[in-house]
């Protein structure tokens, strides 16, 4: 079977999930299957098919599993969002259309993605601007003490970090392709620690500074962790030097500790994480304005789900008689908790395994790639994706302090779905080149 046919067959699980999910929600709402709702499912599957046809036409050798895995994750998302808020589900479908257009555009515009290397400083600069935009007065939109988005009135809240992360990885891959040899060979060993030459390590330090800036200016622990983690993993892939990673982690730790103890918002997030069930934190009535309501309710939602979950459409989402959510942000930051509530530990594990399989395909692509830039790009993109999942799921499950980043392909949100589809396009581009048969 050809790669593309395998991809087509791979879409079956996604379609089954969409069918079962929508059916479950309807049965719970105990009204007949209406045409409108069936249309949602059909349109969504139609979109997945369109995506497949785009790949079939343009990237015949690309990895056949990535797109079906993304479709599966997006199916999870659309069903859960529909179940939480029908209007949001329609908007999400619209964003998905726009995302697919940009997905196709990326594939067509960057058939030879290696030309991206030429614009690496431009890309880095644009990414940097994008990152600090939310802090610009009048533009930025502060949510829960963090500056995460740009509010465009009447349209949507644009979340620049989603796009900046791609530009950042492109820059990293391109920069490290050039300097990886020098970083290793030019290094001196002092007291058993490999110290790379400052001249070449400078830009890496700049990125460390950038991560600290994100923390300090945007109060966004999650994005900071995501960007810095992507840096370390790409740096390690490029140089094979564990010491770089160790030094990097120590530097990050020190910086984060210092800033964390000086920015009240970050300190509050840490306290919420450590003591979510303290009544004064839960109620938010404490002088430090620590509010663990969301995290505590995330845990309560997961506890309600148990091993097998309550079933599609069965979880308690709102306080009866009101439209206020028991668990704030159920379709964005907290969607993993809602999935766990409805599908239980097993459903949550399925989601995590789907992500791991997607990430595995990303790293596989990095290994198959025939040039350093491609390898670093694929590894970087896979890492940043994996880190994003870890940051938000880790936050929701209390492994790390909670910060608002989206769950890629599942959470509601235009910026997220579009940016992650572009990220997928880039991975597929690298994969297509890597797997293309070498002509004699």
């Amino acid at each position: 079977m050809s790669a593309r046919n395998r991809e087509l067959v791979g879409l079956i699980p996604a379609s089954l999930l969409v069918t079962a999910g929508f059916a479950g929600v309807f049965i719970q709402r105990s009204n007949a299957l209406s045409n409108v709702s069936l249309t949602y499912g059909a349109i969504f599957l139609g979109l997945c098919l369109v995506g497949h046809l785009v790949i079939r036409a343009t990237l015949p050798y690309a990895d056949p599993y990535m797109f079906p895995l993304v479709a599966l994750l997006a199916s999870f998302g659309i069903v859960m969002i529909y179940r939480i808020d029908t209007i949001a589900a329609r908007q999400q479908a619209q964003w998905f259309v726009l995302g697919l257009i940009l997905f196709a555009a990326t594939i067509i515009a960057f058939r030879d993605y290696r030309k991206l290397e030429r614009y690496r400083y431009t890309i880095a600069a644009v990414s940097l601007v994008l990152l600090v935009l939310p802090r610009v007065p009048g533009l930025g939109d502060q949510v829960n003490g963090a500056y995460l988005g740009i509010h465009i009135p009447g349209v949507f809240v644009f979340q620049p970090t989603e796009f900046a992360k791609i530009g950042f990885v492109i820059f990293l891959a391109s920069y490290l392709r050039d300097t990886r040899q020098v970083l290793v060979l030019g290094a001196r060993r002092i007291l058993g620690v490999t110290i790379p030459p400052l001249k070449h390590f400078g830009p890496v330090l700049v990125i460390w500074g950038l991560a600290m800036l994100i923390l300090f200016l945007l109060h966004d622990v999650g994005s900071s962790l995501m960007f810095y983690g992507a840096l370390l993993s790409t740096l390690y892939v490029a140089t094979s030097r564990v010491s770089f990673v160790v030094v990097g982690l120590v530097a990050f730790g020190l910086g984060a500790w210092y800033i964390g103890s000086h920015v009240p918002h970050i300190n509050a997030r840490v306290q919420e994480w450590l003591h979510p069930l303290t009544p004064s934190y839960y109620s938010g009535r404490n002088p430090a304005q620590i509010s663990s309501y969301q995290l505590a309710n995330s845990m309560f939602a997961q506890a309600a789900g148990g091993m097998f979950g309550q079933g599609f459409g069965q979880a308690t989402l709102t306080i009866p008689g009101t439209h206020s959510f028991l668990l704030p942000a159920p379709s964005t930051d907290m969607i993993y908790a809602v999935i766990t509530d409805e599908l239980g530990l097993f459903g949550a594990a399925a989601v995590l395994i789907a992500y791991l399989m997607l990430i595995a395909r990303g790293f596989k692509t990095a290994i198959l790639a025939r040039d350093s830039f491609s390898t670093l790009l694929a590894a970087g993109l896979s890492s940043v994706l994996a880190l994003q999942v870890f940051v938000i799921v880790g936050g929701v499950t209390r492994v790390i302090p909670l910060t608002g980043v989206t769950l890629p392909f599942i959470s509601y949100g235009g910026s997220s779905i579009i940016a992650n589809l572009v990220l997928l396009a880039l991975l597929l581009l690298v994969s297509d080149r890597a797997r293309r048969p070498v002509l004699a």
């Binding site: 993993s233 390690y236 892939v237 490029a238 094979s240 069930l277 009544p279 839960y282 505590a296 845990m299 309560f300 939602a301 997961q302 506890a303 309600a304 789900g305 148990g306 091993m307 309550q310 079933g311 308690t316 709102t318 306080i319 009866p320 008689g321 028991l326 766990t340 239980g344 530990l345 949550a348 594990a349 995590l352 992500y355 791991l356 990430i359 595995a360 790293f363 990095a366 290994i367 350093s372 390898t375 670093l376 590894a379 890492s383 994996a386 999942v389 870890f390 799921v393 880790g394 499950t397 209390r398 492994v399």
Partner: protein
């Protein structure tokens, strides 16, 4: 660069493993603790979604039912309101307030599954459906009790001595269980169920206990003669009869008929503290009444120290057993306890545990639980009960309880008029406890009115008791 890539991927596998471990902490290992955490509003919301069953009177009158609210939730409403508020109580899930039978029968009403059914129910994901609970309460008797209390603070308890089934439990002040914040039209409006929570001075009704202890212990008979002169030193202080009448030598029967204080103080002293304590315990004193109301709504009837207000340990040498023997000496009781005293005599010495819950009926109309009468204690020999019954019949026929002597109905009883408040205040606590018909008692009634201006049990409480007995005995299943 392949080896580092593999290692980075391995690291992500570990990180995702952590995510899975933490997810299983909340979903499986800590699930129970999180679900029962008081901060968890889901617990309350899940409860609100249960269609809790009805609470009904014996004749099917609905005392409490669920009405549907928004988003598949239910809330409770009490059609009979203040008429049954005391025993029925209330259940407000949202604010976590519950009381009365609504609390003590809560598991039945919510249909809480136990044992194997609970496991099967969980697997099937079936929604919880509440059962209906029938009580032993009689709305006609309850309504009459309130009519006769006529706005005065006090309590009426009526029960079947053969089974312990409570037919009426009415207390004033009452409240509206539909609206706990509503101002009520009585001074001292209270959710306190006086029938089971009051601290009333028992007065002469307690002489029944002393009489039972005296006769059943073999130290006295109904014809034993004791000197009834007044006053008489008891525990070092003079004790007087009503009107300071000196009765001279009298039989116990005459003493009970005329409620002669000095005679019963001597009986109690001669029976002795240990034996008195033993009989009091058999009647239920020193313990919370064995009734199916929440423990927080029950108080034990027992003597309290007049010096520091603390309850005496049973049989404490500080107890003034002579005065306790006539229902004074710091003895504070509930109307329910005094009804139990009469019930033990009425039922041949076998005191049945009082109960309000009769049966639990599921959604299919099947009776899933039938409350069976249970023996609380064998208080006295049947012969003692027989003798004391006759003495109590005498009280009504020719003594202080003549107001309860109804034509065609043989009522037996004992009055009480306890002096309360400071000396010379003229405040009294009138009482009547009794049963009918004397040969085969089917109903026991205890009545007390709080803090009257010098009124007597025989004139105020006895007619109320008689009217309620008459009503209940006239009913087909009375």
């Amino acid at each position: 660069m392949n080896a580092p890539i593999a290692r980075v991927f391995a690291l992500f596998i570990v990180l995702f493993g952590l995510l899975l471990v933490w997810t299983s902490r909340w979903t499986v290992f800590d699930s129970k603790a999180l679900q029962t955490n008081p901060l968890n509003a889901r617990t309350v919301i899940d409860q609100e979604k249960i269609d809790t069953g009805k609470l009904l009177a014996a004749d099917g009158t609905v005392l409490a039912k669920s009405v549907p609210g928004p988003d598949h939730t239910f809330s409770r409403t009490y059609p009979t309101g203040s008429l049954f508020a005391q025993p029925v109580g209330y259940s407000y899930v949202k604010t976590g307030q519950d009381a009365g039978l609504e609390l003590s029968d809560g598991d039945y009403l919510r249909g809480v599954q136990t044992g194997i059914n609970a496991i099967i129910g969980q697997l099937g994901g079936s929604t919880q459906v509440g059962d209906n609970v029938y009580t032993t309460l009689d709305p006609k008797a309850q309504r009459l009790a309130y009519q006769l209390l006529a706005g005065r603070a006090g309590s009426v308890v009526a029960l079947d001595p053969r089974t312990g089934a409570v037919r009426a439990m009415a207390s004033l002040p009452s409240y509206d269980d539909n609206n706990l914040k509503a101002p009520c039209n009585l001074p001292g409006c209270s959710q306190l169920n006086s029938a089971s929570q009051a601290h009333d001075v028992a007065g002469s009704t307690f002489k029944i206990v002393t009489t039972v202890a005296g006769i059943d212990s073999g130290k006295f008979t109904p014809t034993s003669v004791v000197n009834g002169n007044s006053p008489r030193l008891v525990s070092g202080f003079p004790l007087a009869n009503d009107g300071n009448t000196s009765w001279g030598p009298q039989t116990l029967t005459v003493a009970l008929t005329n409620s002669i204080n000095t005679i019963f103080a001597q009986v109690a002293e001669q029976v002795g503290r240990p034996t008195m304590t033993e009989y009091m315990k058999r009647f239920g004193f020193y313990s919370k009444p064995p009734i199916d109301l929440p423990p927080g709504e029950l108080v034990a009837s027992r003597p309290y120290s007049l010096i520091n207000g603390k309850p005496y340990a049973p049989g404490s040498p500080n107890e003034d057993i002579g005065r306790i023997g006539i229902g004074q000496g710091g003895l504070l009781v509930t109307p329910l306890q005094m009804a139990m005293v009469a019930a033990a005599v009425a039922n041949g010495g076998r005191l049945m545990a009082p109960h309000l819950t009769d049966r639990v009926v599921n959604a299919d109309g099947q009776t899933v639980v039938q409350v069976k009468p249970t023996l609380y204690s064998q208080v006295m020999k049947p012969s003692t009960a027989q003798a004391v019954s006759q003495m109590m019949r005498n009280v009504v026929e020719e003594g202080t309880g003549q107001a309860a002597n109804l034509g065609g109905l043989t009522v037996a009883g004992k009055t009480g008029t306890a002096s309360i408040g400071t000396t010379g205040s003229n405040l009294t606590e009138p009482w009547f406890i009794g049963f009918a018909p004397v040969q085969n008692p089917r109903i026991v009634v205890a009545v007390t009115i709080d803090r009257t201006q010098g009124q007597f049990g025989g004139t105020v409480a006895a007619p109320i008791a008689a009217a309620i007995m008459k009503l209940i005995l006239s009913e087909p299943n009375g």
